[in-house]
């Protein structure tokens, strides 16, 4: 027996959630599918492959105020930003749930990032299993899968007239009342098959490829925009700047990317990554070597967004394969 919720009960449950929390869900914006805060259940899209941008923007927004400093009683007062309201995110895919878990490593390592921690604590993740996949999906090669319940509070799998429900955490239990769930004899749909991207000992191969001309050749084609970093669920770099006026300072952080020309430029003008090849290598070395060294997992979840969005077909699947082949000939 499995647990089941009817489509009708799901919709009324989602409507109830709107009463005391933000509900974030996939919506159609022109031809895009974007996670948006919705005010009515009718705006939610249920039939989508995956969203154009990843759900990371709800934990690590494109821009966010960290704190204010204001004049008060002849001195100054620091006012930290706080997250008051609970949020439920509906429609997260398993790959993106893994992406959030990857971001927890850097953001929640002590000393934890206070704002990120609040976003995480105040948010409940309701996942939707993938019944179909895109050609560029490769989550099964990156530690997840189309029906993977890991890192979610609730996972829903669509079947006829409703969803199979897996309540996975106390947070999930608190969100979804037992009375809406019934026991039913429903078989889950088949898990869609995905093409394999074997990563083998990619971290070691990346280390050996550090000085390989491969990166400069790849950088010939790369236009060094920030699309890959910004659509990626696990890219977490940011810049911090102060917005000031006479009465108040506002400290803001915004997404930044290792692909930006000035990203590593320091006082005096020195840039340790002065070439396009060194910047491009950084993106893949971080995902496939440095992050695994520091936290024990590849910082790629196989969502395929960078593959889809790259204007010049810089394809991480191809890079993972090519880097493993580098030096094979010379060693033989």
């Amino acid at each position: 027996m499995t647990q089941f919720i009817s489509k009708k009960d799901l919709l009324s449950w989602l409507s109830q959630l709107l009463e005391d929390r933000y509900l974030v869900a996939p919506t159609k914006v022109d031809e895009l599918t974007l996670f948006r805060q919705v005010d009515r259940v009718d705006d939610i899209v249920f039939d989508f492959d995956n969203t154009t941008l990843s759900p990371k923007e709800w934990f690590f927004p494109p821009s966010e105020t960290l704190f204010y400093v204001e004049r008060k009683d002849g001195g100054v007062e620091l006012i930290p930003a706080t997250i008051e309201r609970e949020t439920a995110i509906f429609g997260i895919r398993p790959c993106d749930a893994r992406g959030m878990a990857m971001n927890d490593y850097p953001f929640l390592a002590e000393p934890a990032d206070a704002l990120y921690r609040q976003h995480r604590d105040k948010t409940t993740l309701v996942g939707l299993a993938c019944l179909t996949t895109r050609p560029e999906c490769f989550c099964t090669s990156m530690g997840s899968g189309p029906h993977d319940p890991a890192n979610l509070d609730i996972l829903l799998t669509e079947v006829a007239d409703g969803y199979i429900v897996q309540v996975l955490t106390d947070k999930g239990k608190a969100l979804l009342p037992d009375k809406l769930i019934t026991a039913a004899d429903v078989s889950p749909p088949p898990v869609p098959a995905l093409s394999d991207v074997p990563s083998g000992d990619i971290s070691e191969k990346m280390r050996r490829a550090f000085d390989d001309p491969f990166w400069d050749r790849l950088a010939d084609r790369c236009i060094h925009c920030n699309i890959c970093s910004y659509v990626c669920p696990t890219c977490y770099c940011f810049d911090v700047r102060d917005y000031t006026d006479k009465e108040r300072i506002e400290r803001v952080r915004s997404w930044e990317s290792c692909q930006s020309p000035g990203f590593t430029r320091i006082a005096g003008g020195y840039d340790p990554r002065p070439t396009k090849g060194s910047r491009l290598r950084q993106r893949f070395a971080h995902k496939l070597l440095y992050f695994p060294e520091q936290f024990g997992a590849l910082a790629c979840v196989g969502c395929g967004r960078c593959v889809r969005a790259c204007p010049v077909n810089i394809d991480i699947r191809e890079i993972i394969q090519d880097v493993q082949q580098l030096g094979v000939k010379s060693e033989a």
């Binding site: 914006v29 022109d30 031809e31 895009l32 974007l34 154009t52 941008l53 494109p62 821009s63 895109r134 050609p135 560029e136 050749r217 010939d220 084609r221 236009i223 060094h224 925009c225 920030n226 699309i227 970093s229 910004y230 659509v231 810049d239 700047r241 917005y243 803001v252 915004s254 997404w255 930044e256 990317s257 930006s260 020309p261 000035g262 396009k276 593959v307 889809r308 969005a309 204007p311 010049v312 077909n313 394809d315 699947r317 191809e318």
Partner: protein, 287 residues
């Protein structure tokens, strides 16, 4: 002989006799359907060159990275206008270039893993099917260029709206911008060593990825390309959140054409309107 084969033959000859040390063209992308830029340095790499209606990229942008190096490049007509633009603005040297022009049938909307027969919007209204500068031409140029009455229909529709409607439309569009700067990075006309958005002193625009800052970015980007945009429409193609940048670009292109009778990149010699001063020019009254 198909276009790809003609390009491969010429490219191989250029590499073998060392006229150039690199040919910039197109190869098949990893999805097996689309195209991507290829930098061919060796004869065996030349074998990967292709040309078909998926070859959307404006490769002229890459010449800015190879200013002092002898380079051959495959260009479509719009891309060839970018070469003229860069020659006109003294960014590249003609004697370092071998230009393989392609008479262009138009590029389709084919994207990654998505095959389409339909032409891209810019190609549907294109009035330049033969490159304006080349050393070697492949493909059959049309007998005459089409006269497309409706080239600015969407611009006219935008102009027909009230100021409030236009503001609401663009606020919504710009609110989506994630400031990835792909529009800038792909544009052959965007080559400032320090873009105004990265300048700290004076600070033209803050780092915040939010409607107000996004509006400054998108508006100034468009204005910096007035009289310089060569209509390849790559900025709009690469935008990950589908902002209709060509509406802005073509509005400005239309203004420059009407005021100065000038179209960017049609030749490498005509001084650009915003790089010249003529005493007889009178600023038009703004109604």
């Amino acid at each position: 002989m198909d276009l790809g084969e003609q390009i491969r033959n010429k490219a191989k000859e250029l590499i073998e006799i060392e006229t150039v040390d690199c040919v910039i063209g197109y190869e098949r992308a990893t999805d097996g359907v689309g195209a991507r830029p290829l930098f061919a340095y060796k004869p065996e790499e030349v074998d990967r060159l292709i040309f078909d209606q998926t070859c959307t990229h404006n490769l002229a942008k890459y010449l800015l990275n190879r200013k002092d190096k002898a380079t051959a490049i495959v260009v479509k007509p719009c891309d060839s206008r970018a070469i003229n633009l860069l020659l006109n603005e003294s960014q590249i040297q003609r004697d370092k270039l071998f230009i393989i022009g392609v008479a262009c049938p138009g590029i389709t909307k084919t994207g990654l893993n998505n095959t389409s027969e339909e032409l891209q919007a810019a190609c549907q209204i294109c009035q330049q099917h033969t490159p304006v500068i080349y050393d070697f031409l492949v493909g059959e140029p049309p007998a005459s260029e089409p006269d497309i009455a409706e080239a600015y229909a969407d611009v006219a529709a935008m102009e027909g709206q009230s100021a409030e409607e236009r503001r609401a439309f663009w606020e919504e569009q710009f609110s989506r911008c994630i400031r990835c700067y792909a529009c800038r990075q792909v544009c052959p006309g965007c080559y400032c060593t320090e873009c105004f958005v990265e300048r700290l002193d004076p600070l033209w625009v803050g780092i915040r990825i939010a409607p107000e800052e996004n509006e400054v970015w998108n508006t100034i980007r468009a204005f910096h390309l007035a009289g310089r945009c060569i209509a390849c429409n790559e900025c709009e193609r690469v935008c990950p959140v589908n902002i209709p940048l060509s509406l802005l670009n073509r509005k400005l292109e239309e203004e420059v054409r009407e005021l100065f009778n000038f179209q960017a990149g049609m030749d490498a010699e005509t001084p650009a309107p915003f790089a010249t001063y003529k005493k007889e020019e009178v600023f038009p009254e703004i109604g």
